[in-house]
Subunit: 512 residues, 2 copies
């Protein structure tokens, strides 16, 4: 300790520890200076403002039982003091807190705090299994040193597939060999460091899971990570993995990429083997990857895409106003601004054509009906045999799926074929630009209704690639209210690599 110990400060510190031990939200809120400048940081990010801090507390479960191991107090003048304390949680580990206290009308209050606590061995919301590595790659390949997070839908030699549901995991058996998409990465020198979490059966784009919890979104503290490839995305965004191997049926790669500022590729339908991958809706299911850089995404894609079947694509871009309008207003504005910037910078060699797709409204209905019918065919028997195991949102989706009869499915299948032809005609070999999601990452505390609204809007935008079997890139570059948002490119079937190449060119224009 240096300086005089200010009156009442230690009593305030002790009262704060008591309030923590009691998990008394009201008392805790009273220890922070009210207002927008108050800060609380930890390993997951920085909360700014007393409201954000109170919201965090309310969502945090349980009490913090800890003793103080050492205490360092630094008086700064008479009205401020810094306290640094080491604590010893009863559950093991060690913690450190740094707090700037100031004397206010309400007594001593905290203006800024940073908190460190021992972490679990592994974040169970991100990972199901982690190794150092779990499966080593071939030595000396192009992906040497690359650490892969494999979505828990892929067979990984020695492990059963869990699909985000512990009952499903228990009912499975260990795979004797890995899925071809996994083997391709291993053969190129990448190593599998773990099996990462997914929304149950990949039947969601929120990034939540009632069993393993919601992974963090390191780019949006307190925000949803996006799904269903929630674990691989969070792992890559956090730097815990370099590459996510994932699937995308209706946006499951593009949405988390958008929410977390990552590069994501949904491949052309049929272009990458789905062997050893748990299906959701085979008419739309695709394999793809998530990475922090376009370069790694290209290298990963090259391990599984057959170069003989890949096609070139010209740098002709189109925008569909109807799709942009599905997004929230601030997203629309950011998207329009980005397209303007790219045009002004000369990154779009030809003027962007505005196209209409009529009727657009029915597309999502058609997509989700066929998707649901196939999802039920994939998992209905298992879901029926395991009542009560699914979280509410995925359960309600399967309940809807169970009601679709053969006639309804057949009707929508006809619509689907027709929709694909219409999309092909409207796009005419050009690249569709659109926001990768209807919004930035919703708050974890958002209501079910809010999340459902965002979900419907986003799916109405992302389902086009599913319907057309098109490849689609989500690239980082847009920022809305401080949060990342992806720019999505949808190209002709089998233009995956060419599309990535064009996207890398646009990235430069978005940075500038």
């Amino acid at each position: 300790m240096t300086g005089e110990l200010p009156d009442g400060l230690l009593a305030a510190f002790e009262a704060y520890e008591d309030a923590l031990a009691a998990n008394d939200h009201e008392a805790l809120a009273g220890f922070f200076v009210p207002g927008p400048h108050t800060l609380r940081g930890d390993a997951t990010g920085l909360l700014v403002g007393s409201e954000a801090i109170a919201g965090f507390r309310a969502s945090r479960p349980g009490v913090v039982r800890r003793g103080i191991r050492s205490l360092h107090v630094r008086a700064i003048g008479t009205e401020h003091a810094l306290i640094v304390a080491e604590n010893a949680p009863v559950a093991g580990g060690a913690g450190v807190v740094t707090q700037l206290w100031s004397r206010t009308a309400a007594g001593w209050q905290i203006e800024a705090a940073q908190v460190a606590a021992s972490a679990p061995a592994v974040d169970p919301s991100i990972w199901r299994v982690v190794g150092t590595p779990l499966l080593a790659g071939a030595s000396g390949g192009a992906l040497s040193g690359v650490r892969v997070a494999v979505k828990d839908l892929f067979e990984v030699a020695g492990f059963a597939v869990g699909a985000g549901n512990p009952d499903y995991l228990r009912s499975g058996t260990a795979a004797t060999e890995s899925a071809p998409a996994v083997t391709a990465l291993l053969g190129a020198g990448a190593s599998v460091i773990g099996i990462a979490q997914t929304d149950e059966f990949a039947y969601s784009i929120a990034g939540t899971n009632v069993h393993s919890g919601t992974p963090p979104n390191p780019r949006v503290p307190g925000g949803l990570p996006g799904g269903s490839s929630s674990g691989p995305a969070a792992a890559v965004a956090l730097g815990q993995a370099d590459l996510g191997l994932a699937t995308d049926t209706a946006g499951s790669i593009r949405v988390p990429a958008s929410y977390q500022g990552l590069w994501g590729l949904r491949t052309s339908h049929g272009s990458v083997s789905l062997g050893g991958v748990l299906p959701l809706a085979p008419s739309f299911d695709t394999v793809g990857w998530l990475a922090r850089t376009s370069g790694l995404l290209v290298s990963a894609a090259a391990t599984s895409l057959d170069p003989e079947r890949q096609l070139p694509v010209a740098a002709r871009f189109v925008v569909c106003g109807q799709l942009v309008f599905a997004a929230e207003e601030d997203v629309q504005a950011a998207f329009v601004e980005a397209i303007d910037r790219l045009e002004r910078g000369g990154y779009l060699p030809e003027p962007v054509d505005i196209i209409t797709i009529d009727p657009l409204a029915d597309l999502f209905e058609t997509f989700r009906t066929v998707q649901a019918a196939e999802a039920w065919r994939s998992h209905g028997d298992w879901v029926d045999a395991h009542p009560g195991t699914l979280g509410p949102d995925v359960r309600s989706r399967f309940a809807f799926a169970s009601l679709i009869d053969a006639d309804e499915e057949a009707g929508h299948r006809g619509d689907l074929a027709e929709a694909r032809d219409r999309l092909d005609a409207a796009l005419d070999g050009r690249i569709l630009l659109l926001p990768a999601a209807s919004s930035t990452a919703p708050a974890r505390s958002a209501s079910g209704a809010q999340i459902e609204r965002v979900r419907a809007a986003t799916l109405s935008m992302t389902c086009l690639a599913g319907i057309g079997g098109y490849p689609s890139v989500s690239m980082p570059g847009l920022v809305v209210g401080g949060a990342p948002l992806g720019l999505s490119l949808v190209g002709p079937r089998y233009s995956d690599l060419a599309l990535l190449d064009l996207a890398a060119g646009l990235a430069e224009g978005l940075e500038g």
Copy 2:
């Protein structure tokens, strides 16, 4: 930002970030106020004093490449300011730093800092594989909810044994079933959450590993964890696991327990199955456990110890001055003070007898010669076939082991049998009390010579239980210079559970 932005502060902040990016130790040291009060905290603990901070920097590999994502500056008067910054490391993740700057004669310098950075998926110095869980336990047992870290010498179904060496791991095959000691825990309801690191082939008590790194010691920032059960001990001390399943040949449970303030039990030789456990020196190898509480240690021991073979033991205690004198002086003082406290508190029903064991000096030589001969028999062929794979300390130990010829071994085996009889006679069914190690955790930065000195002194104390095949508890309760040190109880063969019971009674006396 609130208040006026102090002159030169932002320039100092930016220069500090530049020095970090350049990993310029000298420049970095200049940014911290020199002296004993300067603080730097992170998730591993708090460093106190500018020297400790500079020492940490020197031992940290590589540069920190990151951009600043947001910056919050709070001026406090004219001479102090708090800076809170969010940063975005190039390698992914997010960081937060809180710094108290003060204006000194040398310009703006940091008085206190706390740093948060995204952690890897799993700490590879602690764990080889982690699951959520890796193997689930039977439902409803006495150990329900208990998470076990299994030392990487035990067979775990589905995984090969690594023994702390990646070449050894690669040369192995996945076990089809788990070792009996693992199965016993699973049967009692505990789940295996991971396979934890060990010093190579368990042939060390330092807690280092050149391949996977040195695990942290959460009780002694900058201190060695102790070994060879380094991973299980760190996992339990950090709260990442509740129970460590480990082995003790010459102190491999007791030493890390002592260094990290844990409860550890080395069982009576032969009392717990060594099936599926990689041997080091079968004449001395034992299975045991590490836990934060004596209660859990008792429950764990009950899963594997045959109650029919367990014997009672009377609360008669002895101390051997020769063994206490092997410890460092401050350890001797703390031990004597603890025994005094226990006597004064009435926790030792009879006066503690002082015994001598003559000749003591030869015991360690005898022990380590037979241990080495057996270690070579266990692993010599493999070590010979894999030159260059072992770290220097374990390599030198195997080199010594390779030189022991049959005559030398036979001679020491005779000495060993005779030593055991002498020990039995000297202890006469009583319980030997001694410090669990010759020192608290040495600094990670200690020289090889320092570590070797501590090692020899500690082994001269711990080898007695090995020679006698005795059970030995290391219980927390001594504190030397702020660091934990264990009190060791050595009891008659097959008094394991009775010994734990007596130790739990003493714990109360040490707390008082």
